[in-house]
Amino acid sequence: MSGETGMSAREVILARIREALRVPAPLPHGLAAESQSQVRQPQQRAAVTTSGAASAGISVAHASNRLPTLTVLPEEVARPWLPDGGETPAERLQLLIENLGKLRAIVQQVPDLTAASDYLLTIARERDWHRVAWHPHPLVEPLLAGVPCATYRVDAADFDKNALESCDAGITSCEALVAQTGSLLVSSATSGGRALSILPHVHVVVATCDQIVATLADALHAAQARHDGHLPSMLSFITGPSRTGDIERILVLGAHGPKELILILVG
């Protein structure tokens, strides 16, 4: 393009985008039919109810003929269409356990932290762990007392990736548990950084039942509320133990991340 000489790459790309968007695009395929006439009206801010989504009320407002904005978030509208997240705490607990089972994660419900500590002792002996990694957290620390092997405490002051690599298991807390998909939301703030929940061969998560939320969106909202606008540098939905299907599309657990995902659910 002739007018681009002397402009930075950023300016050029943004100019190309502005130029390209001068012509409006029709609504997505399957949603366009009923609303075409309204989409083309440039001035008035008309709420356009799309044909496909009319019953549940997805609406699209056009401030101008090229700046469409959704007046309702797609997620709010899509909520009743996405997989069920459960209405009551009991339903959510059941869904979470069911979904984690299908993902081949291990779930152990325990009444209190003492029982959690006993369970950790059992699995550590069963698996013959030599060293486990952990991070300071009110749910994690009490469990370490009974562990029959060496421990490595992950903290910001002196992080040693080689030490972490030599650990058999990593024990962390989490931000939230998602009933809808069986996902665990971990973060660099509440799960001992980025590597603790991914590098050791086994990932043990300690959580309480009141951390269970219905949907992925609820989990993100919980994290946003907890960190008050200063989101941690990493937020990760973990949905089952690490897996791959790259060889003949046959499922194998433990590709690069943990081979086992164990959730200790307290309360």
């Binding site: 496909g52 690599e165 790259d246």
Partner: protein
């Protein structure tokens, strides 16, 4: 169990296709397609690999309370973002920079390569680990890095296998779906010195053991990005193996490469898009790891990179944006569902396309990315069945875009013979007496045509047979049948 006992399929090499003179892309496509279609062992192998996907995809789709409406919501989220890209991209960049990340803008592949090489040199990198990133395939990054004397290792199992084989990905989600386990066993034996095995699990563990030290020792981790969240300045990376998590956790520098079209406005949009991406693409409720990164390690966090860079790549995406009719092809979330259901993909295989992005969506966007004249033949490789449009979780009308590409090509580079043919047909079809005469001539000369195989029919007849000619024209048969039918039933059906 179907075991492919034919020899390894011959494959076209996309990077070779890119450097070759124009028009050869089409020749190569026709040649490779013909080879692949004859390789029934390979086709059976690919179909078997996909059969498990169909089953699990249907199970996961059924868990949605309304999959079709969820597609509406997903498509609107992407439509809204792409049509506001002029506002959302700067908003994303401002928030990403506020999080401590550094943004680099690249107009084209060369500029992107130069930026990444500059970062690699500045970091004095000794070892580079990389997780799956299709934009890096698009700009041929590995070759550029290696040409500078640096080593780069693909950590995704499928990409690692392809790297050892010296091949690009066969499928942009399942890179080595065409490779048999015994071939992988031989490959690992040759490069890693491991004993032979026919267990996919054992093969996976070989790669796992090999890679672990590399994550710890690498100075630079390179990843892609699936979504850029404007309101929070986070990038979202979707994966199953954990290799992207490790790549973004342990090296000192994290470089992510992303197309500019990956922006979504709200964090909440991912609550719709992530499960749909996993269900449509891999038949999973969610892929194993869906991770949001907001800049490098923060004070107080145990680990993470000291620097995080993001390369924002245009590389003709703005040309697609400028076409309102096909703008929605930028909604693509690269789930690969359209490849998995495409009869063409399943029969000609991934390499035949000669493109970074294979299958129906690749056929739509490649002419924009690399030129209509050389790549429009891909849009003719379609059965018009529409399976791609039905499969797309964000409702891109892929099947019609293939037709749009054909129309655009006919406008820009009209084929004189084709035009003449259509004109002749129109002339004949408008004159019933001539149409009838033509039919009569064809019915009588059909056996002769089969025997003589004139040039225009030769290609078509090479793999097909003509039906036997009917004795009478359709119109004659129709009139005859109606006259046989009782009058009452004729009225009833009318």
């Amino acid at each position: 169990m179907i075991v492919n006992d034919s020899s390894a399929p011959s494959v076209g090499h996309p990077s070779a296709a890119e450097t070759q003179p124009p028009r050869l892309a089409k020749k190569r496509f026709l040649h490779d397609a013909a080879e692949h279609v004859r390789d029934t062992g390979h086709r059976a192998f690919v179909r078997k690999a996909l059969s498990g996907y169909y089953a699990s995809r249907d199970v996961q789709k059924a868990r949605f309370r309304d999959w079709e409406h969820a597609r509406d919501a997903a498509s609107l989220a992407k439509w809204s973002a792409v049509n506001q890209l002029d506002e959302l991209l700067p908003r994303f960049v401002a928030n990403f920079e506020a999080n401590g990340g550094q943004v680099h803008w690249a107009r084209d592949a060369e500029e992107a390569r130069t930026i990444v090489l500059g970062l690699v040199r500045a970091a004095r990198a000794k070892a580079i680990i990389k997780s799956k990133c299709m934009t890096s395939e698009e700009i041929h990054l590995n070759a550029a890095i290696e040409a500078e004397g640096y080593g780069v290792v693909e950590s995704d199992l499928g990409e690692f296998i392809q790297q050892l084989r010296g091949e690009p990905p066969y499928h942009f989600v399942f890179p080595c779906m065409h490779v048999r386990r015994d071939e992988i066993s031989d490959l690992f034996g040759k490069h890693l010195g491991t004993p032979p095995t026919d267990s996919p699990e054992e093969l996976t563990m070989i790669a796992r053991r090999h890679m672990r030290r590399l994550y710890v020792d690498a100075d630079i981790g390179i990843t892609g990005a699936n979504f850029l969240v404007a309101e929070t300045g986070q990038i979202s990376i979707t994966e199953n193996e954990g290799n992207a998590r490790l790549t973004a956790a342990l090296p000192r520098v994290h470089i992510a490469i992303s197309g500019i079209e990956k922006v979504v406005e709200h964090l909440d949009d991912l609550a719709v898009l992530l499960p749909m991406l996993a269900t449509a693409g891999a038949g999973q409720p969610m892929t194993c790891y869906n991770t949001l990164y907001a800049g490098p390690r923060r004070p107080g966090e145990a680990d993470g990179p000291e620097e995080m860079h993001l390369v924002l790549l245009d590389n003709s995406r703005t040309a697609i944006l400028a076409d309102p009719e096909q703008r929605d092809s930028l909604h693509c979330i690269r789930c690969g569902a359209c490849l998995n259901v495409c009869p063409i993909f399943k029969n000609v295989g991934g390499f035949t396309y000669g493109t970074t992005y294979q299958g129906p969506i690749g056929s739509v966007i490649t002419p924009h990315l690399r030129g209509v004249a050389d790549w429009n033949h891909l849009s003719a490789a379609s059965s018009l069945c529409g399976a791609c449009t039905d499969a797309c979780p964000v409702r891109i009308d892929i099947a019609h875009h293939l037709l749009h590409n054909r129309r655009n090509a006919a406008r820009t580079a009209p084929n004189a013979w084709e035009k003449l043919g259509h004109r002749l047909f129109a002339m004949v079809a408008r004159r019933p007496w001539l149409f009838g005469l033509g039919g009569a001539v064809f019915r009588r000369t059909l056996p002769l045509l089969k025997a003589v195989r004139p040039p225009l029919l030769r290609d078509w007849l090479a793999s097909r047979d003509l039906p036997a000619a009917p004795r009478q024209s359709f119109r004659r048969q129709w009139d005859h049948r109606r006259s046989q039918q009782p009058a009452a039933s004729r009225e009833g059906s009318a």
